[in-house]
């Protein structure tokens, strides 16, 4: 097992290397190149610019520059935001808790509801319930998150005033859990609905496979309650293929958060990114992409290792 974990981490190294090269060349494709941030500053002269260029080693060969950039990135040095002058990494990390609050709530709700819906669909395959849930999930998958977000905002915040139109908490008040939840309802449910639409299908098909296995028939033949067979025997085995999908979905939820946050003015990483895009704030853009790439790679490793751990039949040599 440990050997497998170590090998899996070693395998991630070439991928990280590839990503770093990709990002490095993206940096150099930025209008003005990596020096662009200094050209912006007031009172900048040509001599000073050349001086800075030499200081940063930008007159050196490309591979030396690449090495320096990677060294900086590993230490969390992604340069300073053009718009705010703060270190990019600091700005991104400041926004991380808000994003995690949004994503984790949506993720937990999404996973639980997916299981319930998926299992119900599978145990009543081809019933009216199954068809209705299937159609709903079709709708959920095809609906663009940002459009649904916009519509929900209009209906429930602007017209009905049931929920606030955005933000993470009412301004000028002390922290209260109720207020936080009240603000989180709309963005969290949109993220969760989208996730349920995707994942309940996986749970359904995985459950269908499990339900047709011999051990399920054996359990039923023993006279066990149908409920017990479904939730304890079949579901445990159906979990296996679904886990991988769900962990990776967790990492990709950042993409959904990006859209949801910018619609609901949620002060998280996604909104920061959307603002950085609008303001051409390249250091923040690059910093956030690098960080998320690492998170996705980690999620990949975790899901593979967990799969190997959960299924004793899987042996990696």
């Amino acid at each position: 097992m440990y050997v497998y974990v170590v090998r899996r981490i070693l395998q991630a190294i070439p991928v990280l290397f590839g990503i770093s090269i990709l990002l490095f060349f993206m940096m150099h494709a930025i209008p003005g190149g990596p020096m662009a941030m200094y050209e912006h500053q007031p009172g900048m002269t040509k001599e000073l610019l050349a001086q800075i260029k030499a200081n940063f080693g930008l007159d050196k060969p490309l591979w030396v520059q690449y090495w320096n950039w990677v060294r900086g990135a590993v230490q969390g040095n992604f340069g300073y935001s053009y718009s705010y002058g703060q270190p990019a990494i600091q700005m991104v990390l400041q926004r991380l808790p808000a994003t995690l609050e949004l994503m984790l709530s949506a993720y937990i709700i999404g996973v639980l509801v997916s299981f319930v819906i998926g299992v119900i669909s599978a145990t009543r395959q081809y019933s009216v319930t199954d068809y209705t849930l299937t159609i709903l999930s079709y709708f959920g998958v095809a609906m663009p998150t940002f459009w649904v977000g916009l519509m929900v905002l209009v209906i429930f915040a602007a017209d009905l005033h049931w929920f606030p139109a955005g933000g993470i908490s009412s301004s000028g008040t002390v922290f209260s859990l109720g207020d936080r939840i009240w603000h989180a309802v709309l963005p969290v449910s949109i993220l969760a609905v989208y996730q349920v639409a995707h994942e309940s299908r996986y749970v359904r098909s995985s459950m269908l496979d499990a339900l047709s296995e011999d051990y399920v028939r054996t359990a039923r033949a023993k006279g066990l309650l149908r409920r017990v067979v479904t939730w304890r025997h079949a579901l445990r085995n159906a979990l296996l293929p679904v886990t991988t999908v769900m962990i990776m979905d967790g990492a990709y939820l950042f993409g959904g958060a990006l859209i949801t946050e910018s619609i609901f003015s949620w002060p998280g990483m996604g909104r920061l990114f959307a603002q950085a895009i609008a303001q051409d704030d390249y250091p923040v853009i690059m910093c956030e992409i690098s960080l998320l790439s690492v998170i996705i790679i980690l999620a990949n490793i975790v899901s593979d290792v967990l799969y190997a751990y959960m299924d004793p039949r899987v042996r990696y040599d």
Partner: protein, 295 residues
Amino acid sequence: MALATEPKASEAVAVVSRQRVSVFRKIFRRPITILAAAFILVVALAAIFAPWIAPYTLNNPDLNAMLAPPGIHHLMGTDDVGIDLFTEVLYGGRISLSVGVISALVAVIIGGTIGSLAGYFGGWVDEILMRVTDVGLSVPSLFIILGLSAVLGATPVTIVEIISLTSWMYPARLIRSRILNLRNADYVDAARMVGCRSGRIIFRHILPNAISPLIVNCTLLVGQAIVLESVMSFLGAGIQPPHISWGFLLNQAQSYVSNAPWLAIFPGLMIFLVVLCINVVGDAVRDSLDARNDK
């Protein structure tokens, strides 16, 4: 070996052509699929013939009817300067649909080529190409897409490039695994034995037999690409005027969403319905090609 398979080959051709008819029939077995395909066709034709169908023009705002609600004169209402929204939706469909279709095709061609080379040659070619694919799968795609559009600028052409460069990985893996299965099939050995070159074997012998999952994937990618383009445009990193797309219209609608909701409803509805129909057709194609469903 080669001789023994020859009469069978001609039989196979007949079977294939008969299969094609039945596959087509199978795809459109359910009325919902016909409905979905018909809707896509109508929207596509409306977009193509937009200049002839559109009741108004894009640069002739009706200053007496700014932010007019949907009605007889303006089917979907008008925007903040009095341009007919129905006209805008028709023209917007041209970019949305063509960006979607072209991006998906380019992505499938890139992915298909990389996957075929990796699967057919194996060894270090496979190793390198699959690591590149892993890199593509390990980057946060929506973030990379927006980042690239900030760096490269957003024109219809760069948007197609950006979307296809971030969606080829799945088709590449798909075709690679198919080719790994077919690489040592008897008829491929036979082709190799009579001296076919690698390129001919891949494109004439293996690909036609490996292509069906790719077609399904391409269909679904069209829907994905339409959504990606609209997200880009919605966040202001996509289509810029004078071009318009459904996502761009939604971006414009944001500021008027409470007093002119129709500006957000109709373009969004178009994206939703088109993607929904594409998914329905794509799934029908998959089900009809899936041999397991024949039982």
